[in-house]
Amino acid sequence: MTLAIKDLTHQYNAQEKPLYEHINMSFEPKMLYSIVGQSGSGKTTLLSFLAGLDTPSEGIITLDGEDITKYGLTKYRNQKVAIIFQSYNLLNYMTAAQNVASALSMTKSKHAGDKEYIYNTLEKLGINHTLADKNVQQLSGGQQQRVAIARALAVDANIVIADEPTGNLDEENTQEVIKIFQELAHEIGKTVILVTHEPNVAQAADVQISLKNRTFTIVSE
């Protein structure tokens, strides 16, 4: 299942210079990609196109050659892609476990309603049973970030997109999360794309991409 960017150009404002011009890139399964770039270079914006949260000024995103807007963005977000947001975006009236559980039932995952699976996934990210049953507003920033990651890991989607997933994590947790993303790509076979500022996280990826001067540069492969 190849995810591809086709001739993408985007500008938020007609007066301003485009964020990027005529970018082309494809993302393959079983691979972990990292995107680095200066703050404001347009990383989050790019992820929003890949995640079907927005549409670019020009160009398209394709999945196995088909334009995702033709597939239907809601359906695409529901079935094909799991997103980890820079600002977590958890549902604040739920516990950690309920957040994961509702993502599973919303996407009609094969694990929907499987409590053991839900708590195990959270456990993998260091959220124990007690924390899992707390309202997410009572969790620390790092804990919330890990719940957001658990939510994306738990669903069946084959593409995982993460915006600064380790931004609020300590060194130990960061290493743990890197290992999880590598497992997701290499063992489960998903396409994993993450944006990061941290060099050690970027280097853990199979392909490192730099967003600079309005274009993509593949740093290492």
Binding site: R77, Y93, S105
Partner: protein
């Protein structure tokens, strides 16, 4: 059913907000429900009154004509001799009475199911004393031109007491012995009020004597065959110049006629028709048999007057339902829209997770639906109280104003002329008031009960409001891309 689970979690977690919106919704629902209750109660009361009334037509002297001629004679007399008119009470007028022969001719017309004569005479108690009240003791009778009615006892002649309006409306009740029946015709049997009976130690079977009020007074010996009780509220009605209703004794119309020295006529006749649709035809045929100094008043006219307060309540309730309905819809819709807009970030998250707009709407809708159900229960309990209170207030207000109007109209009536309802105490003002009072009682018992139908109407309205509000509140959010919703919080 994931959206229902989310709705439940939301309502539980945001309990303060849930309580607040429940309160707002309940408050609005209570007002709407109160309107619906009053409205349906008013309709019900109107219908039941209509059914129980039956159609009757009363034949009596045309009082307006009689008063008009009285005023004419008064003004002419005062212009000719101003000194004499200054100290005399308004000129006595004589109302023409209905000849029994004529009445029987009318009774023979088609569609008459039955008829009831009323006749009235004024006499003085002899060997027993009339009941005196502070209002009637010094003013006496005839404050308003009572010609022959200077006696302290009123003999109200009827065909049967059962068909008399006060007894029919249950304002008066036989408490011992029996009422006047057709078999009492040409007898001296009477039914007296319990207060008069107690104060004179009279029982069923006792005899009393009364004297006529004219110069060569005759004495009649009457036999008490029954005792009735007048509701006390009625006796408090009489203003100065009205006799205590306890001093009204009921007899056959023949006795009143004998006392008046005219056994061939009565003051009024009430015809009960077999079918209310025949009223016009009957009136038309009957008019041919009477002179222009008589009038025929159908109960539907009286009924229309009596029902005026109900109609007013009904239209007022209609307006309440509409005003509160519209204002409530707008307020609720606005609050809901505001609450949904506040939740745009959450909606953005759901959209980002791939939840369909339809299911997001369903979640918002189910939350509000749960709130609506609770509000309906609260409104159902509280609305009963509010409806009762408001309904009572409205009815008493409306009834009072109508009473005042009708009493005003009836005033100036003199002599022994019963009003449209016939057979009441001698003062026409009082008769009118009694009739009014009877209807007042009926309206006061207005049953403001919550029916399943009112609750269903209310629920339907509530559903409509939240459906519109949810769609109106979420549509502007759905127009945006999730990225946009999530980036500008």
């Amino acid at each position: 059913m994931d959206f229902i689970k989310r709705a439940v979690l939301y309502l539980r977690q945001k309990i303060g907000r849930t309580a607040l919106i429940t309160l707002v919704m309940s408050a609005i629902m209570i007002f709407v429900l109160a309107g619906i209750i009053i409205q349906s109660a008013a309709i019900q009361a109107t219908n039941s009154a209509k059914n129980s009334a039956g159609t009757t037509v009363t034949l009596s002297a045309d009082r307006e004509k009689a008063f008009a001629s009285m005023r004419k004679s008064q003004s002419s007399s005062s212009s000719t001799s101003s000194s004499s008119s200054s100290n005399t009470a308004p000129t006595a007028i004589t109302m023409p009475s209905v000849k029994i022969k004529t009445a029987e001719k009318i009774a023979a017309l088609n569609n008459v199911a039955g008829y009831q004569y009323s006749n009235s005479a004024s006499v003085n108690a002899s060997g027993f004393s009339a009941v005196t009240t502070s209002s009637s003791s010094n003013g006496g009778q005839g404050g308003f031109g009572g010609s022959t009615s200077s006696g302290d006892i009123t003999v109200s002649g009827v065909s049967t007491t059962a068909a008399e309006s006060n007894f029919k409306s249950k304002s008066y009740k036989i408490t011992s012995g029996r009422g006047i029946t057709a078999s009492d015709k040409n007898t001296n049997n009477v039914v007296i009020e319990s207060e008069l009976a107690t104060s004179n130690n009279l029982k069923v079977g006792s005899t009393i004597k009364v004297k006529t009020t004219d110069d060569d007074s005759k004495t009649y010996t009457l036999t008490v065959v029954g005792i009735y009780k007048a509701k006390t509220s009625t006796s408090s009605q009489g203003g100065p110049g009205m006799s205590d209703p306890s001093n009204t004794i009921y007899s056959s119309y023949t006795l009143a006629g004998t006392i008046n020295g005219d056994t061939s006529s009565v003051t009024s006749v009430v015809y009960t028709l077999t079918d209310s649709s025949k009223e016009k035809a009957f009136t038309k045929a009957a008019k041919k048999l009477i002179s222009s100094s008589f009038s025929l008043t159908s109960s539907s006219e009286t009924y229309a007057l009596l029902m005026k307060p109900m109609k007013n309540v009904q239209s007022f309730a209609n307006k309440i339902v509409w005003i509160v309905g519209i204002a409530g819809t707008i307020i609720l819709a606005l609050i809901t829209v505001l609450m949904i807009r506040e939740r745009r970030h959450e909606i953005g998250v759901l959209m980002a997770l791939g939840e369909s707009k339809f299911k997001i709407i369903l979640q918002l809708f189910s939350e509000l639906f749960a709130v609506l159900l609770v509000s309906l229960v609260i409104a159902g309990v509280a609305g009963n109280f509010v409806g009762n209170a408001v309904g009572k207030q409205l009815v008493s207000q409306q009834t009072t104003s109508t009473q005042t109007t009708s009493t005003g109209a009836g005033f100036g009536g003199g002599g022994q002329q019963p009003g449209g309802n016939g057979g009441g105490p001698s003062s026409s003002g009082q008769t009118n008031q009694t009739g009014m009072k009877a209807s007042g009682n009926q309206i006061n018992t207005l049953k403001a009960k919550i029916s399943a139908k009112s609750m269903a109407e209310l629920g339907g309205l509530g559903l409509g409001i939240i459906a519109v509000a949810v769609v109106a509140g979420s549509t502007p959010i759905f127009r945006l891309k999730p990225k946009k919703i999530l980036s500008n919080e």
